[in-house]
Amino acid sequence: MRKELGTFILLVVLCAVVAAINPRFVGGANLQNMARLIGMYGIFSIGLGVVIITGGIDLSVGSVFALLGVLLSITLTTWHWPPALAVAAVMCVSVGLGLVHGLLVTRVRIQPFIVTLCGLLFYRGLARFIANDETKGFGTGQGFEWLTALATGSLFGVPAPFILLVVVAAVMWVVLHRSIYGRYLFAVGRNEEAARYSGVNARAVVASAYVVSGLTAGVAGILLAFYTNSVSPSSHGNFFELYGIAAAVLGGCSLRGGEGSVVGILIGTALLQVLQNLVNLLGIPSSLNFAVMGAVILIGVVADQLLKRRQPLAVARESAGGGTPPPPRMAAGSAGGAGD
């Protein structure tokens, strides 16, 4: 809880500062647009968080978005499948890929980083090949207006993706923090061996986390495709996995596994979107976009470490879990900064 509080305070302070400098920040249109983005990013960040809680990682999300976008476009506009069928097919692909990742991690015992790094490369290439490296769109959207509405519509002024996020987050909160399955996820993330000796089917639990990530990536991927309304296979979804990882880490997930919360991930996602927004509203050159994000994540994580050191209880826990500062956290921030 304390961990989330820190990030939450950072979020509030940042919002207040931006709003003070540029009142357009709290304007209806801006808030709406930000909520829409938070909705889309939040959904797949939660799935990524689940994987991170088991001590794994999923780097393939962005490329999966490209693949799903291309497939959606082809099935809907070229093959004229019924929209429900196209959505079902795309969800099956996304969940299926998650399952494959999970099985490679648990059965073949390949490190999650490598499995999903290969996925990142492979799906991107596949998407470009299928699309002939051409940008795919959805034309006028005739026949599947409801799908477009899911991504771009609003209900009582609240963007539909945000509403979806609230639903997903509520479900996942119960699953992670109240259910037996959630308890198993944390147990396996903390100490897979001890969980196994307590009768937890650790392999199934770990594999399932990738399926959950596939599921949320599927939902977010569909929303994103209709939000952008055009899918250029070489850039669609680029870096999105890193945004998700950054959101999870900012929200208190440890890349060592066993720690994290849905609320934290939501706060982390919101923080990232506010940062993006801040660059635009404060007139910072957009080329500095990544640099700002990387710097703020780094500051947040460093502050978190320093605060933790001052809490004796947390220190005891740190030393038990191997107290070295986790370098991958830095990687999440700096990789974003170095990109583009």
């Binding site: 037996i180 147990a187 001890a194 969980a195 307590s198 009768g199 089917n201 826990r317 038990a320």
Partner: protein
């Protein structure tokens, strides 16, 4: 409240430092080793006061420290470990490692310890005991005149322990002063010139060589008599309840192990480390499913392919490495205790934390777990209480067969006694108890019968009246009764 404590060691003397966990042994040693600084008081070497502000200071003062956990790098070879950070150089500015000299010098120290491995052997190929010798060699290469050894035998086999004791004697003969911390009183008896006991951070007494005896040491440590330290077997006719037939573990598929444990007894499993006892336990519990074999409880076959299967049928294991396999140290006691039984405290897949907490509190109370509440992390508890939490996991359910793998390793005397009483109580209540232990005294003191293994083979099962240290040792080194005759 800081309490003063004192200790003196003479040249060429082995002083054994004993005391329960938390008595202050390690703290005192870490002060001498430069890890901690004292609030008050001073250290004198050869009559001169010295200041030890860091481990580097300690090394300069020729104080060596062999920690309980090994501090070696298993990606380097033996010589590189011995000279880590002090590698002989050549070519001045280039500062290249003088490999020839390093390996030559390493050989000298290895010979002094009687460790017969080439200095370029990768450390990962050595046994734990040999790695420990490398650590001792490292201290010798720093010309240690005072050597602190913190439970050096806790993960060694019997023969390795004997070898280590020999080495300690040789070092003593060479004039090294040794402070030897151990929970194993048999070792202390065999080795110590003097025994110093600590209790609650202060001196609790001292015994000279002639005065050393088991009872006196225990009395000094706990501050009272333990009339009967081991809870004695009770005897009586019993019938087989849990049968293992022709079980072949993955580690030793060539040997089929069969035995039967009787209801009401504690069946001890003795043997050297690596005899395949833990592998047997893991095969029974389903962690490493066996390649062949059958299990039966009260004549009914048990089918166990995973820990889930075992747990469902009431077969439980308290594993050897409780910090890694027994507990999730960072999690609350409550969550550790309930992990195998979550379904009991849940409806529709959602956990009722109140019911869970009540159950955890109840079973921890029954086991006398000393903790401020069931919400504290299991890792904050002492070794004995951690072991009790492991047991609480299983006693919150209905155990039918309970396998204890090294149940009292690293646990202080008082808690050991409690664990023995608990095992005896469970046996009396009809639970089949199997106890794997590398502590000979413990096996002989607690077991009704003793099964002995050697390199994956069950070499014999001794009835109570046949049990003796010699009989167990003979089987443990692989001589079966017929072969010995």
């Amino acid at each position: 409240m800081p309490t003063p404590v004192g200790l003196a060691v003479h040249p060429g003397e082995v002083v054994a430092l004993i005391g329960e966990n938390g008595a202050g042994k390690s703290t005192l040693m870490k002060i001498i080793g430069g890890v901690y600084q004292p609030d008050e008081g001073a250290v004198f070497i050869e009559g001169r006061e010295v200041v030890i502000n860091s481990v580097a200071d300690a090394i300069r003062l020729r104080i060596g420290f062999i920690h309980q956990e090994l501090n070696v790098l298993d990606n380097l070879d033996v010589a590189s470990n011995i000279f880590l950070g002090r590698e002989p150089r050549r070519f001045g500015l280039l500062r290249l490692i003088d490999g020839g000299r390093m390996y030559r010098d390493a050989r000298v120290y290895l010979e002094r310890l009687g460790l017969d491995v080439p200095p370029d052997t990768p450390l990962s190929r050595l046994s734990i005991a040999q790695q420990q010798m490398v650590e001792i060699a490292k201290s010798l290469s720093q010309e240690a005149r005072i050597l602190i050894m913190d439970e050096p035998t806790s993960s060694l086999t019997l023969t390795e322990t004997e070898r280590l004791i020999e080495v300690v004697r040789e070092l003593r003969a060479q004039g090294v002063s040794i402070i030897y911390i151990s929970h194993r009183l048999g070792e202390v008896e065999a080795l110590a010139d003097r025994v110093v006991a600590l209790r609650d951070g202060r001196n609790a007494g001292e015994l000279s060589r002639a005065e050393v005896s088991h009872e006196r040491m225990v009395r000094m440590m706990v501050g009272r008599d333990i009339a009967n330290f081991y809870v004695r077997p009770e005897g009586g006719a019993r019938e087989s309840a849990f049968e293992v037939r022709a079980l072949r573990t993955r580690r030793y598929p060539q040997h089929a192990v069969s035995f039967a444990a009787r209801r009401g007894e504690i069946l001890g499993f003795a043997g050297l480390v690596g005899a395949g006892r833990s592998e047997l336990a893991q095969a029974i519990f389903g962690v490493e499913p066996p390649v062949a074999g059958e299990l039966a409880l009260d004549g009914r076959a048990l089918k166990i392919r995973s820990p889930q299967d075992a747990i469902r049928q009431g077969v439980y294991l308290a594993p050897e490495d409780r910090r890694r396999a027994g507990l999730i140290l960072e999690e609350a006691i409550r969550k550790n205790v309930s992990l195998p039984s979550l379904a009991r405290y849940a409806s529709a897949g959602l956990v009722n934390a109140d019911a869970e907490g009540r159950a955890a509190k109840e079973v921890c109370g029954r086991l006398n777990v000393k903790a401020p509440s069931v919400e504290v992390a299991a890792g904050t508890l002492s070794g004995g209480n951690q072991q009790k939490v492991v047991l609480a996991k299983w006693l919150a359910r209905e155990p039918k067969v309970l396998i204890f793998d090294e149940p009292t390793r690293g646990i202080d005397v008082g808690a050991k006694h409690e664990i023995y009483e608990l095992m005896r109580g469970l046996a009396r209540a009809g639970v089949v108890i199997i106890m794997i232990s590398s502590d000979m005294e413990e096996v002989l003191g607690v077991s009704d019968r003793v099964a002995v293994m050697h390199e994956g083979r069950l070499t014999g099962v001794l009835e109570r009246e046949q049990c003796s240290e010699e009989a167990v040792m003979r089987l443990a080194v692989g001589r079966t009764e017929t072969a010995a005759a």
